[in-house]
Subunit: 301 residues, 2 copies
DNA sequence: GGTAGCTATTGAGCTCGTCTATAGTCGGGG
DNA sequence: CCCCGACTATAGACGAGCTCAATAGCTACC
């Protein structure tokens, strides 16, 4: 037979009181029970743990050696229970988050920084990937949360809307249209030279669809693979680009130019696997994201 | 309810296999049993430990946190069982030994050195005290073993004879009787000047009794409180002393002079508390002491 | 030698861990 | 679209063993 926690607790009590009767009282069991269980433990370990012949019960050498480890084991279990509470407190945990690339520019930064500031004990794994990949990884449980656009999701994916993202034409200080008086008719877009994200970005496809619908063929002067690159380019060159309004808010030197008609807006959603379980960290991040969206909607609308 | 070791083992198995059925097979229990026990553990801890909704079972944050401590606790218990075996192997342990003062000179040194060399993992506490004190401390369980003389012991003390110690007159190189031809009649002792242990030593009382029985009154020139002091004094001064033969064997510059009749010999015994339990260390020390006595008797007799 | 204070033993009772059988759930394939 | 296979959850019965009260056995002390 193997020792059980009961045996450890009983042994420690007897060792502490040097007395079976007293220990039994503290443990709220009868003294015969205690005698039997200690004997059982001794049999399980194959050694005498207590010297009962002296006036007061004393640990044998084997007993002292074992008691040390027994105490340690019980301490570990207590620590484990505290650790579990810590997780509930969000003072521990881990969150695997993925976003589609455009969000890195204006959403991931502030959101993750805020979350980390509130819950420094939760480790974060943030990565960029395509929306398809995000959904697949959520289903395979390689991710906890994703941020992407509303649309047709894979079965098993749960999507909750966060906010509405609107795209707009954006120019920098060196652009001749910097002080354009009113909304720019879409037909005039053909006159502009643009810097845009590459075609493998969902945002780019969204923009291309808009152009196609209005039969406009703008001149693409530059293609880049990050929003950051675009803002840098537009700040320094007389080019226009198309960016989420939120990005423009963060860059005072960028000027939004309304289009007529406006680009269709997209709904940004929080994605997760449909499941009964959601980690405390994931729930908390969801709340922070919703809060962020609320304040974002206020400033942008 | 509190978590039991069973719960820990079950949880670790499920976490490892990421599958209840497989884990149940390894644990040799039925799958329903495993489900029930894991659920019980989760209830005890107040958190969900496993995420059962994914394709493969996965630990939740709380689960990973707890598993860490569970592993640690089980490791501690395994270490405890090894430690217990170590004690049986004499690779751990502790021994509290007391000797009456004269033994320190020739017996404690070699015996303890030998024992320590064989069992370096056993810590030793060696002290000198009077025989009465040794027996009292044995009964109060403040000592494991004592070395003293046979005689009337306190009730509850168990004595096992080790060897017979004979005392003899001893002179150093500067003593005129250094080349004494034969045994020295006791009556002639009155001519000698002696260096002896002080009166509170059992050995001194033993010697005084011998003198009294033979109506001799030797001249005590020096009284010392250690055998070491006596050997040093006799080596350098033209004085005689009375020492155990074994001491003389260890000092080539000391010469034993037989007395006629010889001093009564005393039996050296190993003392311990009468009890069913004796530590492995104490048993081992007893054996080493008996061995030492055997070889000692050969060289001296 | 009797008594007080402990621990060990005994036999009955009942909790609870375990089992078998079965229902519920989720994906994947025809 | 429904069935099938793999897996986990639930239900009820059984039995091992923990626990208890009563008591015997032991040791020290007066």
């Amino acid at each position: 037979m193997k020792p059980e926690l009961r045996h450890l607790r009983y042994l420690l009590a007897v060792a502490e009181h040097a007395n079976f009767t007293r220990a039994a009282e503290e443990l709220r069991v009868s003294q015969p029970t205690l005698s039997q269980q200690i004997r059982q433990l001794e049999k399980a370990l194959g050694v005498q743990l207590l010297d009962r012949t002296a006036r007061a019960i004393r640990l044998t050498d084997a007993g002292s050696a074992y008691v040390h480890y027994a105490r340690s084991a019980l301490r570990d279990l207590a620590a484990g229970e505290r650790a579990v509470l810590d997780v509930r407190d969000l003072s521990r945990g881990h969150l695997r988050l993925a976003v589609t690339p455009t969000f890195t520019a204006y959403l991931t930064g502030p959101l993750v920084a805020d979350f980390h500031a509130r819950h420094p004990g939760i480790t974060l794994d943030v990565r960029e990937m395509t929306q398809d990949r995000i959904e697949a990884d959520l289903l395979d449980d390689r991710l906890d949360l994703g941020i992407a656009f509303a649309g047709d999701h894979l079965p098993g994916i749960e999507a909750t809307a966060l906010f509405t993202e609107t795209l707009g034409l954006v120019v920098g200080p060196r652009h001749p249209d910097g002080q354009h008086p009113g909304p720019l008719p879409v037909a005039e877009l053909g006159d502009h030279r643009l810097a845009l994200l590459r075609g493998d970005f969902a945002t780019r496809r969204h923009i291309d669809r808009y152009f196609a619908e209005h039969h406009v063929q703008p001149r693409i002067a530059v293609e880049a693979d990050s929003v950051n690159a675009l803002t840098e380019i537009v700040t320094r060159a007389p080019l226009a680009t198309v960016l989420p309004d939120a990005v423009t808010h963060d860059h005072p030197q960028l000027t939004p130019i309304p289009l007529d008609p406006a680009l269709p807006s997209r709904t940004v959603t929080l994605l997760c696997r449909r499941s009964t379980y959601r980690s405390a960290a994931a729930r908390a991040f969801g709340h922070r994201a919703a809060d962020w969206a609320r304040t974002h909607d206020i400033t942008s609308g």
